[in-house]
């Protein structure tokens, strides 16, 4: 995949650098609102919409915003979108607005949004930044929805409000309380590491960094990689 192409950005956001399971960003809403799958999905999509738009605007303005005041400028842009989305939610999906409550205005200081603005949108093109925002937002949505589904299933016997467990199932209440959020997050991160580290060990996900020569490691003077980066089978 070509770097910074839309597809690569989506793959990067959803799987490779998933904000919830790999970057570990935005933990506050991740742990707090995922008591049910609907809340997780709602929070994820809300954040995704704001992230995509703020990334796009910040990339558009990246040459205009002076470097010294860039963070306040980003905050103003993000806060505007959060306000718009908050009013839209209040007007059209009041049930979600009520259950997310305080966490909607807190999206302003969500570290994924600020992080992507700072790390990506202020040095890349508008299209790439837009897709970076969509990818990261969808990754966040997937993460939150997964956590929400597991917590709702174990803690209430339901998924998206539908009873899936037999009536005899007694909900393990701790999973809809705060400790359950940590348990589920930890298990999902462990699972993600299992896949990603496994892939890295097998060599399917290796990326050669600059400086790897065709001769392999024999004549290479860069020893920081410890011989792990050059794939001898190629």
């Amino acid at each position: 995949m070509k770097a910074n192409s839309p597809v690569e950005r989506l793959y990067n956001g959803i799987y490779k650098e998933n904000p919830t399971f790999v970057l570990m960003l935005g933990m506050c809403p991740t742990l707090a609102v995922t008591t049910s799958a609907v809340n997780g999905l709602g929070m994820g999509l809300t954040t995704a919409a704001i992230l995509a738009m703020s990334n796009m605007i910040i990339a558009l303005l990246r040459k205009v915003i002076p470097d010294k005041v860039r963070v306040p400028a980003y905050i103003v842009i993000i806060a505007s979108f959060v306000t718009i989305v908050q009013f839209l939610l209040e007007g059209f999906i009041p049930s979600l607005y009520d259950s997310l409550g305080l966490y909607i205005p807190l999206i302003v200081v969500n570290c994924i949004i600020l992080g992507r603005a700072e790390a990506y949108a202020n040095k890349n093109t508008v299209v790439a930044s837009l897709f970076d925002g969509i990818g990261m937002g969808l990754g966040f949505t997937v993460g939150l929805t997964c956590i929400g589904i597991i917590r709702e299933l174990l803690g209430a016997g339901q998924i998206f409000g539908f009873q899936v467990m037999p009536a005899a199932y007694e909900p393990i209440t701790i999973f809809v309380l705060a400790p359950g959020a940590f348990f589920v997050l930890a298990f999902l991160v462990a699972l993600m590491n299992k896949f990603q580290i496994g892939a890295a060990r097998r060599g399917t996900d290796k990326e050669k960094v600059g400086g790897c020569s065709k001769d392999g490691c024999a004549n290479c003077t860069n020893h920081t990689c410890g011989g792990k980066i050059f794939d001898i089978t190629e």
């Binding site: 393990i172 209440t173 701790i174």
Partner: protein
């Protein structure tokens, strides 16, 4: 000749104490309390003890087998965890709840943190608190199951003596001391627990520093509290607080767990006082009548901090600089 030339590096004198022998001692010391629980609450209590231990052993085996780790079920630590967890269960609990608690205690609290010696809090108590939060109704239902041998005095209300004390009712101190009261399987009989504790101290498995500072600081705080709120010195209240609930079982068998207790002597004293203070806070000011479990796992989490503050100074390194 070959025996004379046997050369080995130090240490040459080794202690015969092993994890296995220590855990065996603890199990022996818990037998009086377990037997009394079965006598008091009937065969359902025996079933609970059996399934909880089995659940812990199976969880440990399955995890270690699939993670390609050394199988440590024979060292007995899982048996002790299971037994302690079972003794913390109300007598009429459905059998699957302690099974789930055993899985949680071994898998999440013990194995995921690195197995024996690495757990950050007492696995049995963490398992109990997990169940207490998840299945509050079952875990606080102290009704005595049918088929009990009929020795429990207060079978009508099903309230534990500690809850009765909290509600301001009179309790029978003699039955609290001998254990004919409602409560969890292993906590009711102070006599049986003390018998086990004497065994543990006699075999030098535990020393009395933590239990005594724990119980002592708790007792002093209860007396001060009584004086401060104007009730005066109430011997019955103090005795009921000491004999009731999980204080004795917790102080002798769970607060003394090697892994989650400070190493230094001053650290152990501080740990005991913190335990007493927290138990007192939870019991006097909390919603629930009982607070020993939460006090112990909370103090377990403070242990690294205590160790850090109470670290002894090496000879020649301390004192004022000239």
């Amino acid at each position: 000749m070959s025996e004379m030339l046997h050369v080995s590096s130090s240490p040459h004198i080794r202690s015969k104490v092993t994890t296995q022998s220590l855990m065996f001692m603890v199990v022996i010391a818990l037998l009086p309390a377990s037997c009394f629980g079965i006598y008091n609450f009937g065969l359902h209590a025996l079933l609970i003890i059996a399934v909880t231990i089995a659940s812990c052993l199976v969880t440990e085996f399955v995890y270690e087998y699939f993670m390609h780790k050394t199988i440590t079920i024979s060292d007995g630590s899982a048996v002790v965890t299971g037994l302690l967890l079972a003794l913390n269960m109300p007598p009429s609990i459905p059998w699957w709840i302690p099974v789930l608690g055993g899985v949680f205690a071994i898998l999440i609290v013990k194995q995921l943190f690195g197995g024996i010696g690495q757990n950050i809090m007492n696995p049995a108590l963490a398992g109990r608190c997990f169940l207490l939060i998840s299945f509050t109704g079952h875990m606080t239902n102290f009704a005595v199951p049918a088929g009990a041998f009929g020795h429990v005095v207060d079978t009508v209300s099903g309230a534990t003596p500690l809850a009765a004390v909290k509600a301001g009712e009179a309790v029978n101190l003699t039955s609290m001391f001998f254990g004919n009261t409602a409560g969890t399987i292993g906590e009711t009989s102070v006599v049986a627990i003390l018998a086990g504790a004497i065994l543990l101290v006699g075999f030098e498995v535990i020393d009395l520093r933590v239990p005594l500072t724990y119980i002592g600081s708790f007792a002093i705080l209860v007396v001060i509290y009584g004086l401060a709120v104007g009730k005066g010195f109430d011997m019955n209240f103090l005795a009921a607080q000491l004999c009731g609930g999980g204080l004795m079982l917790g102080a002798f068998f769970m607060a003394t767990d090697y892994v989650t207790t400070p190493i230094t002597k001053t650290g152990q004293l501080a740990y005991g006082v913190i335990l007493g203070l927290l138990t007192w806070l939870f019991r006097m000011f909390g919603n629930s009548a009982e607070g020993v479990s939460y006090a112990i796992i909370f103090s377990n989490l403070l242990v690294p901090l205590i160790e850090r503050v109470m670290r002894p100074v090496a000879f020649g390194k301390g004192g004022k600089k000239a």
